[in-house]
């Protein structure tokens, strides 16, 4: 615990110091982007890793919030009201989507979330009156929460970092909570969970709503960051990418999706300026990681670490299913 606390303080210090060390605005913005996608991936992992539900429509909550924020704002709501209304709207959509998707499990669930995501994308693309179709919508300016200006890249980064840290802490508490235990139980033995008095459907639906809520928070950050939303941001590829982040980093861990978000966002933004075929590179990374670390990077590295620590003994680490204690 003590070592964990030190590690946490060091990570926090490094994260806070990023804009002070890196003066280049491009990289500071990249760091903000990573945090936003990391939050989206962590929220998706509530379903994927903890709930055992593979969703291919998670980017739709990012889009629903982003579009709703802009629309409520242009219809005359203040920044704060627009943000709250947008998150409430998107989470309610999540509640409805959850009802529809949870009529099925496994592949059926995946296909319904895919379809719902495509419907949201389709509306964004086709409802020109509302969304201006392929052109997307612009957001005039970043808000000033509590009178603090967050327009500049470093300030926006710190703002994002605060939201990210709070969100992460609340989600981490969830994973350690009785509900978190019930969610994982429902993933592993739904039949037994019912026989123990747990309402498996309601557990999974509640998890879906919570995942939608945190995805919506990421969506709010997204629209504040880009000051723009277009159907591209909520395409199937985006949903799949978020899913890949979680799987690449390790869906069975709390921190895995964050690691995955870092790698994928970096490859997308950095490598793409040098290599045309960055998608191929991403694919190669994915294949290599999954080949050698089938449970993702974080569990894989942990396993290597354990082996390195005790080289004499043969260490066999079973498929890690329990999230570690600290983010």
């Amino acid at each position: 615990m003590k070592r964990g606390a030190i590690v946490l303080i060091v990570i926090a210090a490094v994260l806070i110091a990023v804009p002070l060390v890196i003066r280049n605005e491009f990289y500071i913005n990249l760091a903000s982007q990573i945090l936003i996608y990391a939050l989206l991936a962590v929220s998706l992992n509530l379903l994927l890793g903890y709930g055992g539900m593979v969703s291919l429509g998670h980017a739709s909550f990012l889009g629903l919030t982003a579009y709703a924020t802009i629309l409520f704002f242009t219809w005359g709501a203040g920044h704060f009201t627009a943000a709250i209304l947008a998150i409430v709207f998107s989470t309610l959509c999540g509640a409805l989507f959850g009802v529809l998707a949870l009529r099925a499990t496994g592949i059926g669930f995946l296909m319904i979330t895919l379809a719902l995501g495509q419907i949201v994308w389709g509306i964004a693309y086709r409802a020109n009156m509302l969304t201006d179709g392929d052109n997307g919508l612009r957001f005039p300016a970043r808000p000033s929460p509590f009178g603090i200006d967050i327009a500049s890249a470093p300030k926006f980064y710190w703002f994002t970092l605060i939201v990210f840290a709070l969100a992460l802490f609340v989600i981490w508490r969830l994973t350690q909570s009785p509900f978190g235990a019930a969610l994982q139980g429902a993933r592993d033995q739904p039949r037994r969970m019912r026989m123990l008095g747990h309402n498996v459907w309601l557990i999974q639906w509640f998890a879906f709503v919570l995942a939608a809520f945190w995805g919506s928070v990421a969506g709010l950050l997204y629209v504040y960051y880009n000051l723009f939303i277009s159907p591209h941001a909520i395409s199937l590829q985006q949903s799949a990418e978020v899913l890949l982040m979680a799987i690449l980093g390790g869906a069975s861990t709390f921190t895995g999706p964050i690691v995955g978000a870092i790698i994928i966002t970096l490859v997308k933004n950095l490598v793409s300026s040098y290599v045309d075929r960055w998608n191929t590179l991403l694919g190669a990374i994915f294949v290599i990681v999954i080949l050698f670390m089938p449970f993702g990077l974080v569990p894989g590295v942990k396993q290597l670490w354990a082996r390195w620590q005790r080289p004499a003994k043969k260490v066999t680490v079973a498929a890690p299913d329990k999230p570690e204690c600290a983010p």
Partner: protein, 246 residues
């Protein structure tokens, strides 16, 4: 007196195969009922119908006078029904304690809490360890299920059901696959279960089961063939014919 469990004219077909035919069964509070019958007689199906894992085609199941068939499994559990599984249905990567904690959470409103640290709920963990100690697993409570023997897992099944302090406990072959010594332990454990718990047990091991049972129901091809006290059922020629052999 209201029966603890009242099954009436229950029917279930799997395609053309009738698994349960007009089964009626009345178990009084505190009773120890044994259900016997050859393989495929529909014993486990009967349990699945009572718990709601399966939906019957016709009939009724009442727990202390309340109809169960219209309510989902988890609500039946909240009314005081608990069961163990013939095929172990546990959380293999978790500790024994955590398995029982999940059982306790099932009846605790706290299961919806997304903020409290489960690990700090010492009253839950104490209760879980107590339940494990009761079945003789106190020393291995911290192990994960994968590190335990088959016999220990069977007893964990019992601990999870008993921890819920059920009114009616359905035991599906609790002695299956156990060594002589372990059978003795489970038998002793069963005698320790307080009388306010009604027990219905499916069991093949006649030596252990007969001593335990007060009344016995014999199922054959999904039908109740014989029912009565231990002596009556054992003496009945149909029992010998169907179940005990010549």
């Amino acid at each position: 007196m209201t029966p603890a469990l009242e099954v009436s004219r229950l029917n279930k077909r799997f395609g053309g195969l009738p698994a349960t035919r007009e089964v009626s069964l009345t178990v009084m509070p505190g009773e120890r009922r044994l259900i016997i019958g050859p393989n495929g007689a529909g014993k486990t199906t009967l349990f699945n119908l009572i718990t709601g894992d399966l939906t019957p085609d016709a009939g009724s199941v009442k727990l202390f006078g309340q109809e169960l068939l219209k309510i989902p499994t988890q609500q039946r559990v909240h009314l005081g029904l608990a069961r163990t599984y013939q095929i172990l249905t546990l959380f293999p990567k978790e500790t024994l304690t955590h398995n029982v904690v999940l059982a306790l959470l099932g009846l605790d409103k706290m299961r919806w809490n997304v903020w409290t640290m489960l690990g700090r709920q010492s009253q839950l963990y104490d209760a879980a360890r107590e339940a494990l100690a009761l079945v003789g697993l106190g020393d291995v409570a911290h192990r994960t299920v994968t590190e335990t023997s088959y016999g220990e897992r069977r007893r964990l099944e019992m601990a999870m059901a008993l921890a819920q302090k059920p009114k009616v406990l359905l035991l599906d072959e609790p002695l299956a696959g156990l060594s002589q010594e372990e059978r003795g332990q489970v038998r002793e454990l069963l005698t320790k279960v307080p009388r306010d718990v009604t027990i219905v047990m499916i069991e093949h091991d006649m030596d252990s089961a007969l001593a335990f049972a007060e009344r016995i129901t014999l199922l054959h091809y999904g039908e109740v063939i014989v029912e009565g006290t231990r002596a009556e059922v054992v003496a009945d020629p149909r029992t010998k014919e169907v179940y005990l052999g010549e």
